[in-house]
Structures are given as structure tokens and as C-alpha cells.
């Protein structure tokens, strides 16, 4: 007697359950389509435009961030190291190499949910193109570690997974047709002191 209502309830619960969970997880998993990946670094040069895909529009409406315009810059994030393993704040990493052509760049770390890390104000929580110490031929090595390091040290907090955010300001990278060889710095794990 209750078979038909039961089947309708089953269909509805599957529809709403799967529909809502899949939407939320899709928006959490990625910013959308149209990513450019250079090694572990990922950027979405079209995410702020009208032409972007519906996932990117839904994602930016949900995140409510002030995105970078085309002439402003391009923001790369890395959630993995160059070997494809997740960045863990228990470990130390070396970021080495050079950035693509840009007038300026900044580098800082965020938690896995894109919230900025709270780090004591006397520790070097961020670095940029002017303050970084360079090697000959202007390449650099930045030590990302929860414990103090010599040379360029980017301090992080022990709080599980984290992301690195590298913002290139006024860069032709987004519109690159592949004529310029785009090289992003590599992220290499150097050790996990407590793991």
C-alpha cells in the first residue's frame, strides 16, 4: 500500500542528497575549468571574467574574494609539491628557481581553506621580489619551514595541510601563447623533522 509513496520518497531523497552533495563538493574541489598549471602551481586567468564557466562563477560568488583583473596580476596557488604530494606544515620545503616575467611578485602561505595563516608579526610570514635574497642569475631559494632557517625563510605554523600563494603583478603570463618559456619555481620537500 505504501510502495508508491516509498519509491517517490526514495527517488526524491536520492535526487536532493546526491544533487546537493555533488554541487557542494564540486565547488569545494576546484575553482572551475580553464586552469593553467605550471608544475605544482595552478592559476585561473579567466575566473574573474564574463566568459568563465558556471562553476567558476558559482565558486567566486560563494567565496566572495576580490579577484585580480587581467592587467593587475595573476595568482598562482600550490597545494602540492613538485612530486605531487600534499604540502604538510610539519615538513620543510625549498622553493627554488625563478618566476615568469612580472613586475613584482609576492609569496605567502595560507591554510588549506584559503584563510591566511596567523603568524607572529616578528616572523617572516611573506616575502616578495624586493626582499628575497637572490643567487647569481637572479634565481632564489626560499626555505618554507615551521622552524627557523638561514637565508630566505618563510615561516609557517604547524596546522596540517597548507597552500602557497604566489601572486605575479602586471604579468604577461595569463595571455601567453606559449612563445615565452614559462618557468615557475619548484617546490621540493627537504624533510619532516617531527614526522
Amino acid at each position: 500500500m505504501f510502495r508508491i509513496p516509498l519509491l517517490v520518497a526514495l527517488a526524491l531523497s536520492v535526487a536532493f542528497g546526491v544533487g546537493i552533495v555533488s554541487s557542494v563538493s564540486a565547488l569545494k574541489a576546484t575553482v572551475g575549468f580553464g586552469a593553467i598549471a605550471l608544475g605544482p602551481w595552478v592559476a585561473f586567468p579567466e575566473a574573474q571574467t564574463e566568459n568563465t564557466d558556471p562553476y567558476a562563477k558559482a565558486h567566486r560568488a560563494r567565496a566572495g574574494k576580490l579577484l585580480y583583473g587581467g592587467a593587475e596580476g595573476l595568482q598562482f596557488t600550490a597545494a602540492m609539491d613538485s612530486n605531487g604530494q600534499k604540502l604538510s606544515s610539519d615538513c620543510s620545503y625549498d622553493i627554488s628557481g625563478i618566476t615568469p616575467p612580472a613586475r613584482f611578485w609576492t609569496l605567502y602561505a595560507t591554510h588549506a581553506n584559503d584563510q591566511p595563516m596567523k603568524i607572529a608579526p616578528d616572523l617572516p610570514a611573506a616575502t616578495n621580489a624586493w626582499t628575497v635574497l637572490r643567487q647569481p642569475y637572479s634565481s632564489f631559494v626560499i626555505h618554507v619551514s615551521p622552524v627557523a632557517q638561514p637565508d630566505n625563510w618563510l615561516a609557517i605554523r604547524r596546522s596540517g595541510a597548507f597552500k602557497l600563494v604566489l601572486t605575479l603583478l602586471d604579468t604577461p603570463t595569463a595571455g601567453s601563447s606559449g612563445l615565452i618559456d614559462l618557468a615557475m619555481p619548484a617546490i621540493v620537500k627537504t624533510g619532516c623533522p617531527n614526522a
Partner: protein
């Protein structure tokens, strides 16, 4: 048993439809998109400098070296003019419409003399401005605004702490006002 499988199949088709509807409709009703947050500052027609800590609307200077100011504006009653002057190492401006689509962006190297002087207007207002150009707009960049409302994001770079004051003054003296001839 077969009818239960059929019900699950129908449910999955419904889930796919619902997924599409949610993704497409979400931008209209999140209530925490960037434009709603800018409006939530209750500061129309002036640049509002953000702080490092998220304010009441959740907007903050995400990048430790970039100081950001936002301004909600409307070209309904007349063109909007954006002016900023000062010697900061880098500044950039982006104009977004109410759906947070980028309309226009520029930086200090693409500006005239490195100073920001931009007029956003509807295409009809733009025709009017071009027919009888006011002397004060001789150096201005004029851009057509597809919609009526939008917001502007002005970023200025402070590579070291010593630039902090210069950048704060740059943002404080920048203006985002309705233009009247």
C-alpha cells in the same frame, strides 16, 4: 526490486538536474559574493580601505604586501570618476559589474603619467561626454559600463614597511565620485 532500482535511477537523473540548477542559480543568492560584501560596507562613492583583519563583511587585505580599497558605485545618475595620484611602487585598479565580472582593469604603467584618472559611463553618457568634452577630462580614460552598478578595487603595493604611510596616503587621497561638469 526493479521498481526500487528504477526509483534510484530517477533520483539520479533528478540529482543531475538539481546539480545544474544549483550551480547556475548559486551566484544569484549566495549573499556573500564580492559585490554584496562591498555594498555591506555602506560606503558608496568613496574608496574604503580594507584592513588586514576581515571586517564585518569579511573583506580583507589578503596579500600582506598589497593594500586594497574598494568602492561601490552606480552610473545611473551620471558618470563615475576615479582619481588617484601618488608615488607608490605599483598600483592597479579593476572595475567589476554587479555579477563580479571584470569590465576593465589597469595598472600604473598603462595609465597616463602613472596617475589614475578613469571615467566609467553608460554608452549614452559617453556619447555626450565625447560630443562636448569637458576640459577637466582631457587626460581621462573613458570606459563604457554595460550595466549600471558595479564596484572598483584599487590595490597599492607596499613592498616593505617603510612604504606603509605612502600607500595609506595614496589610498586615502584616491577618490571615486560621481562626475559633474
Amino acid at each position: 526490486m526493479r521498481s526500487a532500482l528504477f526509483a534510484i535511477l530517477v533520483g539520479l537523473v533528478g540529482a543531475a538536474l538539481l546539480h545544474i540548477v544549483i550551480i547556475l542559480a548559486l551566484p544569484q543568492f549566495t549573499g556573500k559574493d564580492a559585490y554584496s560584501r562591498v555594498l555591506g560596507l555602506y560606503e558608496m562613492d568613496s574608496f574604503f580601505p580594507l584592513t588586514s583583519e576581515p571586517g564585518p563583511t569579511g573583506l580583507a587585505n589578503d596579500d600582506p604586501f598589497l593594500r586594497v580599497a574598494v568602492c561601490g558605485f552606480s552610473v545611473d545618475a551620471g558618470p563615475a570618476r576615479f582619481v588617484a595620484k601618488g608615488a607608490v611602487p605599483f598600483w592597479s585598479l579593476a572595475i567589476y559589474d554587479a555579477n563580479s565580472n571584470e569590465i576593465f582593469s589597469m595598472n600604473d604603467h598603462t595609465a597616463v603619467n602613472g596617475n589614475l584618472d578613469l571615467v566609467m559611463a553608460t554608452p549614452i553618457q559617453l556619447v555626450d561626454l565625447r560630443k562636448t568634452p569637458p576640459a577637466s577630462l582631457a587626460q581621462s580614460i573613458m570606459v563604457a559600463m554595460p550595466g549600471e552598478e558595479g564596484y572598483a578595487v584599487l590595490r597599492a603595493l607596499a613592498p616593505t614597511d617603510s612604504y606603509e604611510e605612502t600607500v595609506r596616503n595614496f589610498l586615502a587621497e584616491s577618490s571615486c565620485e560621481p562626475f559633474r561638469r
